[in-house]
Symmetry: C2
Subunit: 328 residues, 2 copies
């Protein structure tokens, strides 16, 4: 099985590569080749599996065709300009997130017109396809009313994925990821960054700023759960999806207060004391419009699994990023 | 006020042009110029208003820029490859319905970057954005699960319209038209053609074929009502729309049996006897997946109005197309 990962240099992409290499096989089939693509050349992992690492702008003419010419059996499309940047740079967001995705789908279709070809395509969508007004618990078939250009581009990607799949050009599945915490690495400027920061920094003995109230509720899964979603999406039977090719992934609805309580349980009051409350009205206003809870029953029925309490999410971080066990 | 109509040579486009010319003004403002565009040059109507009629392929490079360079105050975007053709010719459907629409939006944005410009854009969408499984009465915020490439392209158009409006590049409003009956002219091969044919042909003393059961229910409005929707959308205050820029238009949910009963009331049993029942399994299967009824409460609250019984729809046809009064 030849696997292509587009967006392989990002946090989720790198973890996905590591998981695939660690296993060496997927769905009972040996992985015979890995092609890793991103806007910068992804790092080549140590493995006996032949790996090609390519720097590609998916929206550049011919880029998608080049990736697809090797006829990978399975494609993960994780590449995206993130929300804040797509909002700040309208052209770039549409170019990468809409044109890039469409060029990929079209390259697959054109390859299939030359010689039968219908790869599995796993597309990472986002809960940003949803926007206010929203019910307290958002069903899988909630109408898409994105409030950002990024959300618009992901919603269009879902529509294209469904139509190309319906026409038999590819076997697509989209997964709407929860907000991923605890993100490893340095603090970033994303509005959602503090959800990870208030766990990651105190665990490292560093101060973290909390810009919103403890009562703020949001929808989470660990990076480990996200990799699990991708691997499951790559191998499951897509027939039961019908025309509804994209699924809201399971996650954990938790408040900031519940995050902090879990941190205290695992790392003690000393860690919690490193969280400095410093309200930021801009961030608070952005986060107030975000979804709080989802009914992911459809994905759960299809076998997708996420954490069910925030301690599990913190433990996954400690185990995966810090080589620590359950203790502080 | 300079008005641009894209898709002006179609049935709805021609009626819209006639309505604008008959009135000479819109929303209290004189119409000072009309630009009529379509894939073939629209007929130039007789009027004192300066009219330019242009043959344009909206998806051709520079076509949208040329139309927008004159900075029309109001734009009706009615051009589309219809459902059957978009399904038969995948490339053509995406080129006209998706690329054409996006190039138009982008030309407006680029014009506004040169010099402030934010025209009203009325976009004709379709109930084809919805697909099974559907509730018996479809709400305005039903999730989009199109079952055709045409529906996919219209759903994408709605998303783009909302994002470009949110960003302030234009003042967009989308309207999802019911199936328009009674269509004037000759029978066509659209799967929905018989809904018009079983009224139009008998009124003209001709035989019509009915390929489905009398119990089939669908969602209708007259061409006259459709023109009313477009004119109202052109002038209403869009502020109450918020981010939900596209509305399902009001219509009439009626069965084929109710259509025939209305025909009998207005034209007698002789007209009804011209309807020949000849079941077509292909058409019956297509129509079985179509929506039957909508809750258009949002559009009605905003002042959109349609017929409330099928006799009104037939009378509108007799008055507008045959110069006849209410009688047979």
């Amino acid at each position: 099985m030849h696997i292509l990962i587009i967006g392989a240099a990002g946090m989720v992409g790198r973890k996905l590569v590591n998981a695939l290499i660690a296993e060496g096989r997927l769905g009972g089939t040996d992985i015979t080749a890995l092609t890793l693509s991103d806007i910068v050349a992804p790092e080549k992992p140590h493995t006996a599996i032949p790996v090609e690492a390519i720097a590609t702008d998916l929206s550049a003419p011919g880029a998608a065709e080049t990736l697809i010419a090797a006829r990978p059996d399975l494609i993960f499309h994780l590449a995206a300009i993130v929300s804040g940047e797509a909002e700040a740079d309208f052209d770039k967001g549409y170019r990468i997130n809409l044109d890039g995705t469409r060029l990929l789908l079209e390259a697959i279709r054109q390859e299939g017109l030359r010689q039968p070809y219908r790869p599995r395509l796993v597309f990472s969508s986002s809960i940003a396809v949803f926007g206010e007004p929203l019910p307290p618990v958002i069903p899988d078939d909630q109408a898409h009313t994105p409030l950002t250009s990024y959300g618009t581009q992901k919603a269009i990607g879902e529509l294209l994925l469904a139509d190309y799949s319906r026409r038999g050009f590819l076997d697509g599945i989209g997964i709407r990821l929860p907000t991923i915490v605890v993100r490893p690495g340095k603090p970033n400027k994303a509005a959602s960054g503090f959800f990870s920061g208030i766990i990651r920094e105190p665990l490292a003995g560093l101060e973290a700023v909390l810009p919103v109230d403890d009562s703020v509720r949001h929808w989470f899964a660990s990076p480990r759960a996200a990799i699990g979603f991708l691997l499951h999406a790559a191998t499951l039977d897509t027939a039961p999806l019908g025309q509804r090719r994209t699924l809201t992934m399971p996650g954990l609805s938790a408040t900031v207060g519940e995050q902090i309580a879990a941190l205290e349980k695992l790392a003690g009051p000393r860690a919690v004391s490193l969280i400095r409350r410093e309200r930021d009205e801009t961030i608070a206003a952005i986060v107030a419009g975000w979804p709080q809870n989802f009914d992911a029953g459809r994905a759960i029925a299809l076998g997708f699994r996420a954490e069910t309490d925030f301690e599990q999410i913190i433990r996954a971080h400690m185990e995966d990023e810090r080589g620590q066990g359950g203790g502080a």
